[in-house]
């Protein structure tokens, strides 16, 4: 799935990767709020543009674009739905503003996906787990999260092995109608689940043997420390938030067509 490719973290070092996940999450939330606050194209375009230097600085341009490309299908659905609803709501007439509105809604979606994609592309799951721990969430949760991430490639590999083994015994996965195809996957899923359960038992055993639950006051090898870059991003985020809220409340943002006619 190309959408999920755009969320996959790769270990590289960049100023953005080194940022504190909490501040980065705050930034994503600010963009999120900004995107929700506006209904018109112009501010959404600006919000979209803000992310570009971020992406370039992190050096994840290719992955980011791929995740955006992955949204094309959903974006098209959003665009069409909005257009159709507007069309019927206005009684069969389609105005330029309706087109603009549909485009704005689509852009809003792209901005949201884009900002989340940057976050996940540049934040290591380890840091994310650490940030979760910091939020006073019980350690078990953040442990479950990082362990799940750790075992994704292992389970994917196992699924592939099982699929190959079942195909070698004559299982045809790509055959039949939609329902039949889903049913075809049962002989893959059952061994996969059984082995995952067995694996979890072994994991539990290994955890017990390494003093799991020995003390309530657990320590951690890594710590999150706020650095200069984090403060800069924090300030940028606050500015973005203030500007968006101010503009939303005090300025009547023109639509794209109005804006263009005003310019010419």
């Amino acid at each position: 799935m190309s959408v999920f490719d755009g969320l996959k973290y790769r270990k590289v070092s960049s100023p953005i990767h080194d940022l504190d996940p909490r501040i980065k999450f705050f930034y994503v939330c600010a963009i999120f709020v900004g995107a929700i606050l506006f209904w018109t194209i112009l501010p959404l375009l600006i919000l979209f543009a803000i992310q570009i230097p971020f992406v370039l600085l992190a050096g994840v341009k290719r992955e980011w674009l791929r995740s955006l490309r992955g949204t094309i299908f959903l974006a098209a659905i959003i665009f069409l739905t909005n257009l159709i609803v507007r069309y019927f709501a206005s009684g069969g007439a389609l105005l330029v503003t309706d087109l603009e509105f549909a485009a704005a809604m689509t852009l809003r979606f792209i901005v949201l996906v884009g900002s989340f994609s940057v976050f996940f592309l540049t934040t290591s799951p380890d840091h994310l787990g650490l940030a979760l721990e910091r939020t006073r969430m019980p350690y078990e949760f953040s442990f479950a999260f990082t362990t799940a991430v750790r075992f994704v490639p292992v389970l994917a590999e196992e699924a592939q092995t099982i699929m190959d083994a079942q195909k070698a015994r004559g299982l045809e996965l790509e055959k039949g109608n939609f329902l039949k195809r889903i049913r075809n996957y049962i002989p893959v899923l059952v061994p996969l689940i059984v082995s995952a359960i067995r694996r979890s038992l072994e994991l539990a055993e290994a955890m017990e043997s390494r003093a799991w639950g020995a003390t309530k006051k657990r320590t951690n090898l890594y710590i999150l420390r706020l650095k200069q870059g984090d403060f800069i991003l924090f300030v940028i985020t606050i500015v973005i938030l203030m500007v968006t809220v101010y503009v939303r409340i005090y300025i009547d943002v023109p639509g794209l067509s109005q804006f263009l006619s005003g310019v010419s």
Partner: protein, 284 residues
């Protein structure tokens, strides 16, 4: 000093009809390199689980008899307390690493024990260097080979500085060369740090020469217990279905055909090579 001692230990898994361990009485001395072997289903893994209290705390079931490890009754101390004394390394390297980086994994036990960060850093680096994987410390577990993963698992228990390391067939998922390296690491730990090693293994060709003590199990009972040279050299051992080292086999065959190669039973190829060299050396 005896560090692991069981007396008439019997154990039945929950729901089991027959006991898995039957009247097991063994003694392992501190600083020893003990080798436990036996055919599949001889319950070698079960006895390993007893050593750090996984049995009876994690597996429940019925445990009878006495067991003392590092002066503690494992039935009275929870596994996390025993973990400070006994490090357990499992068969499948993949299922004992949970973190996203090697060093974080090695730190896992120490984090659980609440060791302060600076001290933890030191001990993690120390363990990584001993296992020879210091350069891999920032990698993720799925990026490294099985042999390297198993060394991470060893480093992870090592970081907790246990008195005893129990390894349950640590090389069954590995190729012979990686296996050999693992055994060398284990041997080093035993020799240089004086850690008591209990190794469960089939590959006696590679391990018998390191062992001070060998225990052969069969169907949940101990059937041979003692010095590796006497036990592996004995005719009866071959009949149990234990993989006697090839060097020892050759020695036995030659002895049967009337060629006695010295008085010491060889356990590895270099040992038999030594006695062969001595035998063909012209006497004057």
């Amino acid at each position: 000093m005896v560090i692991i001692e069981t007396k008439n230990l019997s154990y039945t898994y929950p729901g089991g009809t027959k006991p898995s361990l039957n009247d097991v009485s063994i003694k392992i001395k501190a600083g020893e390199f003990a080798l436990i072997t036996g055919s599949s289903g001889s319950r070698k893994t079960t006895i390993c689980r007893c050593f750090n209290g996984l049995i009876p705390h994690f597996y429940k079931g019925e445990l009878e008899g006495e067991i003392r490890v590092a002066d503690k009754d494992t039935t009275k101390h929870p596994t996390f307390e025993m973990a400070k004394e006994v490090g357990l390394v499992f068969q499948n390297p993949e299922n004992q690493l949970f973190a996203l980086s090697i060093e974080k994994d090695v730190a896992f036990g120490l984090e659980n024990l609440g060791v302060p960060r600076e001290k933890m850093r030191q001990r993690v680096d120390w363990a990584l260097k001993l296992a020879g994987i210091y350069d891999l410390r920032e990698r993720s577990p799925h990026e490294i080979s099985g042999g390297q993963q198993q060394r991470v698992a060893i480093a992870a228990v090592l970081a907790m500085q246990p008195k005893i390391i129990v390894l349950d067939e640590p090389t069954s998922f590995l190729d012979p060369l990686s296996a050999k390296k693992i055994f060398e690491v284990i041997h080093d730990l035993n020799r240089k740090l004086g850690i008591t090693v209990v190794l469960v293994e089939h590959r006696l060709d590679l391990t018998a020469k390191y062992a001070d003590h060998i225990i052969i199990m069969d169907k949940g009972r101990v059937c041979q217990d003692g010095n590796p040279r006497t036990i592996l050299g004995a005719e009866s051992t071959r009949l149990i279905g234990v993989g006697i080292p090839k060097a020892t086999l050759l020695f036995q065959m030659l002895a049967k055909d009337g060629l006695k190669l010295g008085s010491v039973v060889p356990l590895s190829s270099d040992e038999i090579a030594q006695s062969l060299l001595e035998a063909i050396k012209p006497h004057d």
